[in-house]
């Protein structure tokens, strides 16, 4: 089932083009939307919610058109914005109940759902205290709770791991995974870190400068981006030649060599090559799947 689809979607602001003929589709499960800051992720979400009219092209969410059926979409969708959006003088419970009512739930149902949802996102006794005293991690949970409280079919999470420490990041990602799997709510989550989304997404869409760079299932992604980084003190050139001669795919980035891992034997070949050439190995590590890698790859493929 397709939860969202866009066809030639374009959004031009007076000075910038935020989206440039974007055509993507996403199915159920967890979909990652990756792009650098300013790539057009937030603009895309706003268009899908019917908050911004597209300049050209069309979009559908759950088969509904945001331009004409925005209310039906917003009833069935939850949205967690990237920025802070919580009033400091209310408690999390009150705020979540209020937001549930704003989504159309009757008061008693709103209370029940708010209590449930806050428990699911991991807020317990502190939910009765004013939000002003919360840590960033707790705020992110409240923001997530208000997006889930009306039991939507899809949630749009804009940079949910922003500003969190590594532990908070892991918790948030685990929670997103649970929402997609256990709760049965489709998730569209944006991030500028591909590596982060890799852990929770079924499908990843990469956009840059408002254009689609890549859209594929997560399996294809990890395979293609399985790289190791090798750093040696000198003799990078000879090492690169040696490895290429052994049939490895090697790219040279200044002091660093990136080697594509075809099979576990690659690691042995690298080790032997370094030993044979008598080089001093500084570092041998799993390549970080950063957004730049995908960009570099795409550009070199063109």
């Amino acid at each position: 089932m397709t939860i969202l689809a866009t066809e030639g979607l374009t959004k031009r602001f007076p000075r910038v083009t935020a989206l440039d003929r974007l055509t993507v589709t996403a199915g159920t499960g967890v979909t990652g939307l990756v792009g650098a800051n300013g790539a057009g992720k937030s603009t895309l979400i706003k268009i899908l919610l019917g908050l911004l009219p597209p300049t050209e092209g069309s979009a559908t969410v759950l088969g509904l058109n945001p331009a004409t059926q925005a209310f039906d979409i917003r009833r069935a969708v939850g949205y967690m914005p990237e920025h802070d959006c919580l009033p400091p003088d209310m408690s999390a419970t009150e705020f979540t109940v209020h937001m549930a009512q704003m989504s159309g739930l009757p008061r008693s149902a709103a209370r029940e759902r708010a209590a449930d949802t806050l428990r699911h996102v991991g807020l317990y006794e502190e939910r009765y205290r004013p939000i002003g005293g919360y840590s960033t991690g707790m705020r992110q949970r409240v923001k997530l709770a208000q997006a889930l409280v009306h039991d939507p079919k899809v949630v749009f999470l804009d940079e949910p791991t922003n500003g969190l420490d590594p532990q908070g990041r892991d918790d948030m990602l685990a929670l997103i995974r649970r929402i997609g799997m256990e709760f049965g709510i489709s998730v569209v989550v944006t991030s500028h870190l591909l590596g982060e989304l890799e852990r929770v997404c079924d499908h990843v869409i990469v956009i840059d400068g408002g254009r689609l760079l890549r859209s594929s299932a997560i399996g294809d992604f990890t395979q293609a981006t399985q790289l190791i980084t090798v750093e040696v003190e000198e003799g990078q050139q000879s090492l690169a030649e040696r490895l290429t001669a052994e049939g490895q795919k090697v790219t040279l980035h200044g002091r660093l060599l990136t080697v594509a891992v075809g099979s576990p034997a690659t690691f042995d070949i690298v080790r032997d090559a370094v030993c044979d050439l008598d080089l001093s190995l500084v570092r041998l590590e799993q390549g970080r799947h950063r957004i730049e890698d995908v960009f570099r790859e795409e550009v070199s493929n063109v």
């Binding site: 919610l49 908050l51 911004l52 209310f71 917003r74 009833r75 969708v77 949205y79 914005p81 920025h83 802070d84 959006c85 919580l86 009033p87 400091p88 003088d89 209310m90 009150e94 209020h98 937001m99 009512q101 704003m102 989504s103 159309g104 739930l105 009757p106 008061r107 149902a109 759902r113 449930d116 428990r119 699911h120 004013p130 208000q146 009306h150 039991d151 256990e182 709760f183 049965g184």
Partner: protein, 303 residues
Amino acid sequence: MSEPIPAPAPGPQLMPTGVIHDIGYRHYDGPRLGRGHALGALTLHSLRGVFGLGRTARAKIMPFLLAGVMMLPAVVSIAVMAMIKRPGLPYPAYAVTMQAVLAVFLAAQSPYLVAPDLRFRVLPLYLSRPTTTGDYVAAKLAAMALALFLLIAAPLTVLYAGELLVDLPGPPHTHDYFAALATAVVYAVLLSSIGVALASFTPRRGLGVASVIAVYLLSSAISAVLVGVLMSVSRDSAATWAWLINPFFLVDAVQVWIFGTDPNNDGGYPSGVGGPVAVLAVLAVIALCVTALVLRYRKAASS
């Protein structure tokens, strides 16, 4: 306490109460109400917020203090009626007499309605739900208007109940009471649209408070100075027009024209076209403020 306390059931039935069972995620399949419900919820939420309900104790001080002050003349009037059997403060004069209190209430509370949503960016959450900017503006205006109406109507009603109980010689001033209630609606709508519109232009509450109070002080000062000057040069009919610059006397002029009550200023209001002009002016100010609000929020929504 003749009933024997039942002994706790032995064995496995003895379970601690208050255990939270993780029953997993439950979907909601109950009713989902429409826009009207959301509008009502936002209005009620805002109205509670104006009086500091559901907020910190400090937020309750100002509105309840001012509501208490609004009640004082009613209490004193009832005491006067009961003890020296003379009528107290007339109903149509109540709001005009207490205009400073109403202005302070408007200035102190209308920024609360709109400024935090702009400052803490809660607005996008409302707009990502089945609510339009128009609904949002309507709910905020309705909340402030209801609050002001309560602030004026509650002491009037207490005063009327007091008058009926004291039972002065002669018929009760029922016509005046209902005229004042109807005028309270005009006060509430006019003042709330001015206050909320001014407050919505800044996300800072302090600035909002200052701008609302400044507009009130300016309009009342300009009006008073003009009246003084024009009276001193004996141009009394021009002076009657100058009163209308103050929004409270403007509404009083409407009251005088529609209900035939006594004017609450020195020298009365312009006769002839004065009444219709005052009504038109009230409507024009309301329309201007609502338009400004709608445009303001349309801009806020697209940013």
